[in-house]
Symmetry: C2
Subunit: 228 residues, 2 copies
DNA sequence: TTCATACTTCGACCGTAGCCGAAGCATCGT
DNA sequence: ACGATGCTTCGGCTACGGTCGAAGTATGAA
């Protein structure tokens, strides 16, 4: 047994699916709360708490307390680099998450990304909102325009209420399947919930995929046209 | 849950201590048999067999059958790169193997590296053999000279017998504690066994460290002087 | 052929780690 | 002061993966 750095320890830390998901969701560089990370990992808050404690003890995460929230970030960019190199490696071996079953095309088309719409449809929605002038995009930062606010109110979204929450209204979120941004933030969440409540689409059990009804699909396409 | 490469899968693969030890022992680039890897991992052959199958299925290892041996190597240098970056990362967090107990200095001084002498003593031995002209070193390749062969026969080493084995006579092996090469190969093994049989030193239980007797130490130093 | 070596497969055991419900702190809003 | 929200701790359950003994297969040696 040679002496040396203990790669098994950190590898084991990353090797748990829930922890890996939490870590990758932090790769955007954005600080996330324990609750958000629990959702990202697909586990309950208690379990996430234990995982986060381990990750922090292992030097992968750092946290800062802010009010009653606990924001976690990757400890430094060395962690990001490592994760990135591991992702590259994994991709090179064809190790993709969730064995490519029949559901995969559906996932690429439309899926829930924590609490908002991702996939082909998510990307289209943001593209359309931007090209309609409803959302202004400056690099990665998104903001709702007056025109956009009026438009969204007209379809029954309580923009004022969303603004008063601590969560940012608009966020861009890069999704892996499209390599392009889609709309997150409380507005992204509200829009998805709007679709679900209106019966345009529904979640499928045990999956992140979103199934649009034919009618819902028609309406969605009409509401978010793409100029060509 | 974002889609993407499954880093958890490969991390879990590396995250088992036995597997990590086997992988790191393969980082020298040299092919090792299943039995050797089992020793490196500190586990029985059956267990190692299962681990090796998993590592191969995961694309980390490749094997080639040769007679009744099965030689394993890292699948490609991408694996080596990944392991190296993980080791660098682990070291940067201070994750060292085997919590630095009282045995650590002894390990640095003299220890067994699978079947030959490593540590301070191992490095000294090779340095001395080279400076005496007993072993010729061309880069990493080592070969026994005629002078060296005679010298070793005189202390009771059956060089002819060693030559007939399939295993290379001389190998250099880089050890972590010294960052310098020591002598491995069947000759390295034979020398260590010679020391043990002569009572110059003995293995300690449950450790890789080698304890020299005062007499053994004196003889060792005389046999392998260092010019200054 | 027969024996020895190298390795795999099978089967069973067991410990650890992940998981969640419930309860406990802590902080904020009112 | 009170309840709501965010998070941690505790306790107990469970399952998965690592482990080895024993037996089976393959290859080489005598």
């Amino acid at each position: 047994m040679k002496e040396g750095p203990d790669i098994a320890q950190i590898a084991a830390l990353i090797g748990d699916p829930a922890r890996a998901n939490m870590l990758t969701s932090l790769m955007g560089g954005r600080a996330l709360t324990a609750t958000e990370l629990a959702a990202a990992g697909g586990i309950t808050l208690q379990t996430a708490s234990a995982h986060l404690a381990k990750l922090e003890a292992g030097g992968l995460l750092s946290q800062r307390k802010q009010g009653r929230h606990r924001y976690f970030t990757l400890a430094d960019d060395g962690v990001g680099k490592l994760l990135e190199s591991m992702m590259g490696f994994a991709a090179s071996r064809g190790h993709l998450r969730h064995q490519p079953g029949p559901k995969e095309p559906a996932l690429r088309k439309a899926r829930i990304c924590y609490d908002h719409l991702a996939g082909d449809y998510g990307v289209r929605m943001l593209d359309s909102l931007v090209s309609q002038g409803a959302i202004a995009a400056i690099d990665e930062a998104l903001s709702l325009t007056n025109k956009g606010e009026a438009q969204l109110k007209s379809i029954g979204i309580d923009v004022g209420g969303l603004r008063s929450s601590r969560r940012p209204l608009c966020r861009s979120c890069l999704d892996w399947s499209e390599r392009r941004a889609h709309l997150a933030g409380s507005l992204g969440k509200a829009l998805l919930f709007n679709f679900l409540e209106a019966g345009w689409a529904r979640r499928t059990a045990n999956s992140r995929s979103i199934q649009f009804t034919p009618e819902g699909e028609r309406r969605f396409m009409a509401l978010f046209p793409i100029e060509r």
